[in-house]
């Protein structure tokens, strides 16, 4: 790690928000570089001093009562202006609004809503569905977070090598499965390295590829008992995600390159794996 990186990550380090490996990198750098170590100590003292000296504005006496009485007013059908000193009507329009959502909705609509809900629940449970969409959403969020974190903290690779014969044994030794590792530099996706990550409640392999100035994380782990075999593409928060399953392995590619290129990557990857 160089000084520029160490300074950039300093606040995250001081706040204890970096992953252990990056933290270790910083510690090592601070050990070696006196200038950064000095900056670190100054910043640490400053943060502590500022944290202690910043006045904390506790809620004044009376605010709690004021809030409680305004909440009581909110649920009372016939609100009586109470005489709590300092109580104010913040919004004149409130009294034209229905007192409660419940009383404003006719019961037969509720019946209909309940019927629709019931039908939806039945349909949801009867439809054959390998994975719930909620789980997919959650996984997608995890994947993006993982991808973003790998770039943010400069922790892209644990083993940096464009040689698949270096990356693969390294990963095999650390995991309970053997992911296929192929180099696609001939095809415009050079292999940068590999990394261990933790997703979907298990350690997974992350293969890192580059496309021009963009990085691509390919997460690989064995298919669980209930996983589906469909290919899926989605866009979340500006990232492209592409999922496929091949020889009992789950593949999730995450990058900020466009969907077409990501599809192209998948195709090249699969071709190369088949050729081995």
């Amino acid at each position: 790690m160089n000084c520029e990186e160490a300074i950039r990550l300093m606040d995250g380090y001081l706040d204890g928000e970096l992953d252990p490996i990056t933290s270790q990198g910083i510690e090592q750098h601070l050990h070696e570089c006196q200038k950064c170590d000095q900056a670190y100590k100054t910043q640490r003292s400053l943060i502590a001093a500022i944290g202690n000296a910043t006045p904390y504005y506790k809620a004044p006496a009376g605010l709690r009562e004021r809030i409680q009485s305004s909440l009581r007013e909110e649920i009372t059908e016939d609100p009586v202006r109470n005489g709590v000193p300092g109580a104010q009507v913040l919004f004149h329009k409130r009294h034209q609004e229905p007192r409660s959502i419940r009383s404003a909705v006719p019961w037969n609509w509720l019946g209909l809503a309940a019927a629709i809900l019931f039908a939806a629940v039945i349909a949801f449970n009867l439809l054959p569905r390998p994975q719930r969409p909620g789980a997919d959403q959650f996984l997608a969020t995890q994947l993006i977070a993982s991808h973003a974190r790998s770039l943010l903290a400069n922790h892209l690779t644990d083993v940096a090598s464009s040689d698949q014969h270096t990356v693969k044994p390294w990963l095999d030794a650390k995991l309970d499965f053997a992911p296929a590792v192929v180099d696609l530099s001939q095809k415009g996706f050079p292999l940068i390295g590999g990394r261990l990550d933790y997703l979907d409640n298990r350690p997974v392999a992350a293969l890192v590829y580059q496309r021009r100035q963009h990085f691509l994380n390919l997460f690989v782990w064995p298919v669980g008992a209930d996983a589906g075999g469909s290919t899926k593409a989605m866009t979340r928060q500006g990232y492209q995600l592409l999922h496929w399953v091949d020889s009992d392995l789950n593949y999730w590619a995450v990058s900020d390159i466009n969907e077409k290129e990501l599809q192209e990557f998948k195709q090249l990857f699969e071709e190369q794996v088949a050729r081995r």
Partner: protein
């Protein structure tokens, strides 16, 4: 002043920045399938969950608005908004949920008052130069002076005051801060670092002023 916030603003995630939003708290209508819970009972459980965070709510509003009366009005309004959407709150982090609403309500008022410092349009000419002569040691010495720190912090833009209060005073994690301030996780560290730098500059400026 400014007692009339807009009541028709249901709680929502108002847009104050152009950065990408990550919506964290889904607002779903109050549950209809539990008509047996009386409003009174609902209020009781709301108060039990949310009133313990009153100090945190007030502190955040006070830093954002820099005015005691406004802070109290905003906290009261935020509690009302929170109560109305309490049916949609199923999470475990009541403090972060409430602070999100306090933050949004505060910004509604700041925006209404045409507060000019919503985002970072910091005058580098005034704050960025001339104080290099103040050594870190001198800043450190003065950083324990509460009145000076308060003055320096009040000079910062709202997004910096907010992130410093959330981190230094509430001790929230980057993830919680990202949720409350509605910024990507990756932005939290850099914004916090900039906020601290600016605070140091403002402290230096205050020290020079006092000399």
């Amino acid at each position: 002043m400014a007692l009339l916030l807009n009541a028709e603003h249901a709680f929502g995630l108002e847009d104050f920045e152009s950065t990408a939003k990550i919506v964290k708290f889904a607002i779903v209508p109050k549950k209809h399938e539990e008509p047996d819970q009386s409003p009174k009972e609902e209020l009781m459980s709301f108060e039990a969950a949310m009133l313990p965070h009153l100090d945190a709510a007030h502190n955040l509003a006070r830093w954002l608005l820099r005015n005691e009366q406004d802070a109290q009005d905003v906290v009261q309004e935020a509690y009302l908004r929170a109560f109305k959407s309490f049916g949609g709150f199923h999470g475990s982090n009541g403090r972060a949920w409430l602070l999100t609403i306090v933050r949004n309500t505060s910004y509604t008022l700041l925006k209404k008052n045409h507060a000019v410092d919503l985002t970072t349009t910091f005058d580098e000419e005034i704050h960025g130069s001339g104080h290099e002569s103040v050594s870190p040691a001198a800043i450190l010495e003065h950083a324990e002076d509460a009145a000076l720190v308060r003055k320096a912090m009040d000079e910062l833009p709202a997004e910096f005051r907010e992130i410093l209060a959330l981190r230094h005073q509430e001790g929230l994690s980057y993830k919680e801060i990202a949720d409350i301030a509605q910024i990507p996780l990756g932005t939290v560290m850099s914004r916090l670092a900039r906020a601290r730098d600016k605070l140091k500059e403002c402290l230096a400026a205050q020290i020079v002023k006092e000399k």
